[in-house]
């Protein structure tokens, strides 16, 4: 099937003919339109201006802000980061100025950008998510929100919701009732069967799902004989987790009727293509930005090279093509 596509479309494309635009469909309201599939992953790209020092971030598909909570949070003790084989473990602990300061200080700054901005929200209770949705409803700076039901770093918090399909359904439903923009529900991979939470989000009215957040993990300092992170546990991200993420996207693509934002371990254009072939419509870039701030630009160029090599005119044509 996939092979056929390749042979049929031998039409000698040039770079200018390539279509990288992706549409994240909405069954409820307006679609989320992306210039290309690349979406910055929450927490790995600051709030825009840090990366903007290196390149024009408007060239990306969308920008997701660092996770915000109802109240300001100082985050966990340091060290908050440890390096592992082809991965990193972080336990930032959602350091953020709280939703009010986000609205007054951070949102206005994003007005200078032309790409869609998504606010990533986290809560410790259903009530928190309701408050966050209410405060962000109607903010014209935002194209949508990403509901993080999966942060493994807050005790008794996010993670609990994300592993229970009923809670995922309830919270998504509440948020959907309040918030009229695009809603992405971000799921945790620390679960026996991610298709259950993905389906729950879909049923409750999520416009799309994002997967994966980080894998629960830890590292021990063998000389100090204690955990490397002050918080003991953290979340694993980076190339090490990509095979797990791709599998989850592939698995969900067969069952869902809403688009998927796939992420986890993307370093290159090839990795983005892998997620798209698995079934992702948009692809998040996280950890790689920390290593290579201009990664987004490089990756777009690499996607184009792939499209030319395989004579793919429209990137949409290969969504899920590995099935």
């Amino acid at each position: 099937m996939a092979n056929n596509k390749i042979t049929i479309t031998k039409i000698n494309l040039e770079k200018k003919d390539l279509n990288l635009r992706m549409t994240m469909k909405s069954k409820n309201n307006e679609d989320l339109k992306l210039k290309n599939p690349l979406v910055t992953a929450s927490g790995t790209c600051g709030n825009g201006k840090e990366l903007a020092n290196f390149f024009d971030i408007n060239q990306l598909g969308a920008f997701t802000t660092k996770g915000i909570t109802v109240k300001a949070q100082n985050g966990n003790e340091t060290p908050r980061i440890a390096e592992t084989s082809a991965g990193i473990i972080n336990s930032i602990g959602l350091e953020n100025p709280g939703v009010d300061n986000f609205i007054s200080d951070i949102l206005p700054e994003t007005k200078t950008y032309t790409l869609p901005i998504l606010a990533n929200i986290s809560g410790y209770s259903q009530q928190d998510f309701i408050i966050l949705a209410e405060k962000l409803e109607g903010r014209s700076e935002l194209a949508g929100i990403e509901v993080n039901l999966s942060c493994p770093n807050i005790k008794g918090g996010g993670m609990i919701f994300g592993t229970d399909p009923e809670k995922v359904y309830e919270i998504t439903k509440k948020v959907r009732e309040i918030y009229s923009g695009y809603i992405i529900v971000k799921l945790t991979p620390n679960i026996t069967d991610i298709t259950e939470t993905a389906l729950a989000a879909e049923e409750a009215g999520a416009d799309s799902v994002a997967m994966i957040n980080t894998l629960s993990a830890m590292k021990i300092d063998i000389d100090q004989q204690k955990p490397m992170l002050a918080n003991t546990y953290g979340g694993l991200s980076g190339p090490a987790v990509r095979p797990v993420a791709v599998k989850m996207v592939y698995q969900c693509y067969k069952k869902l009727n809403i688009p998927i934002l796939g992420l986890g371990g993307v370093r290159s254009g090839s990795d983005v293509i892998e997620f798209i072939l698995a079934g992702a419509t948009a692809v998040g870039i996280g950890t790689i930005n920390m290593i290579d701030p201009k990664a987004g630009l490089r990756i777009i160029a690499e996607i184009k090279e792939y499209m030319l090599r395989h004579q793919i005119k429209d990137l949409n044509s290969i969504i899920g093509a590995a099935h």
Binding site: T78, P79, R80, G87, E95, M290, P293
Partner: protein, 259 residues
């Protein structure tokens, strides 16, 4: 791209790295750092960059210098790169030492690899004809030799301390500074282990000495996007600051030190 001109052992596990650059986004200031990719080309292992302070900078020859100690996997790989290898380095990054209007009588206190950023600083201060006293300490004489020779080139007042042998004194850079401290300098700069900085700061606050310290926090990105390097500060308007953007140089008393 940055090409290795020299990567030479200058002490026990200590290396002097000199890079030639084609162009830089801006001229580096003392106290700033570069984030260096230490993996072999084509390899992702290790994944993260490693931050190193600028030891010296020479615009005429287009050279940037670092001094680093091999402490783990990344620095081990770095130490094995040969002359001619091209490195992927990012910078200059971070908030530099302030150089203006800090008075005339200046003390520099450095411990261990915290000595590295003080050299380029001392050079700049010398150019401004400041009177500087330099107090540096390390585990042993061998770790200080290279720094001693370099600082002597500047003809600065240099005092040395080592834990293993009696030099100016036997002990830490802190002991040394306290030993020699007769009157308050106009300004101090310090860099070294957090324990030492904590003690320097305590003393300075007590004696009303103003100055700056450069701290080493475990970093994820070095560019301010990840919040791995947050430091609690005494600043009411911004409780947490990032060591990689608002630091690594902070005013004495600004950061809540843990050591």
């Amino acid at each position: 791209m940055f090409k290795i001109i020299k990567n030479k052992k200058v002490g026990p596990n200590i290396f002097h790295l000199v890079l030639n650059y084609a162009q830089l986004p801006e001229s580096p200031e003392p106290g700033q750092f570069f984030n260096i990719k230490v993996s072999h080309r084509g390899s992702d292992d290790p994944l993260l960059r490693r931050p190193f302070s600028i030891f010296d900078f020479n615009a005429a020859d287009k050279e940037i210098e670092f001094v680093y100690k091999v402490v783990g996997k990344g620095t081990k790989i770095l130490s094995e790169f040969e002359t001619g290898t091209e490195l992927d380095i990012l910078g200059p990054l971070g908030n530099p030492f302030s150089l203006n209007e800090n008075g005339e009588d200046i003390h520099l206190i450095g411990g261990g690899m915290g000595i590295a950023p003080l050299f380029y600083l001392a050079k700049k201060l010398k150019k401004r004809n400041k009177k500087i006293n330099i107090y540096i300490g390390a585990a042993n004489k061998a770790e200080l030799n290279f720094f001693e020779n370099k600082f002597n080139e500047l003809k600065a007042n240099l005092y040395l301390a080592s834990m293993e042998e009696k030099l100016t004194i036997k002990g830490t850079a802190l002991d040394l500074w306290l030993d020699k401290l007769q009157h308050n300098p106009d300004f101090i700069y310090s860099c070294g282990p957090e324990k030492m900085l904590t003690a320097v700061e305590k003393k300075a606050l007590k004696k009303n000495i103003v100055g700056e310290i450069s701290i080493e926090k475990r970093m994820g990105c070095g560019i301010g996007v990840c919040l791995s390097c947050s430091c609690e500060t005494t600043d009411k308007n911004q409780k947490n600051k990032r060591a990689c953007v608002e630091g690594p140089v902070f005013e004495i008393g600004e950061v809540v030190l843990g050591g």
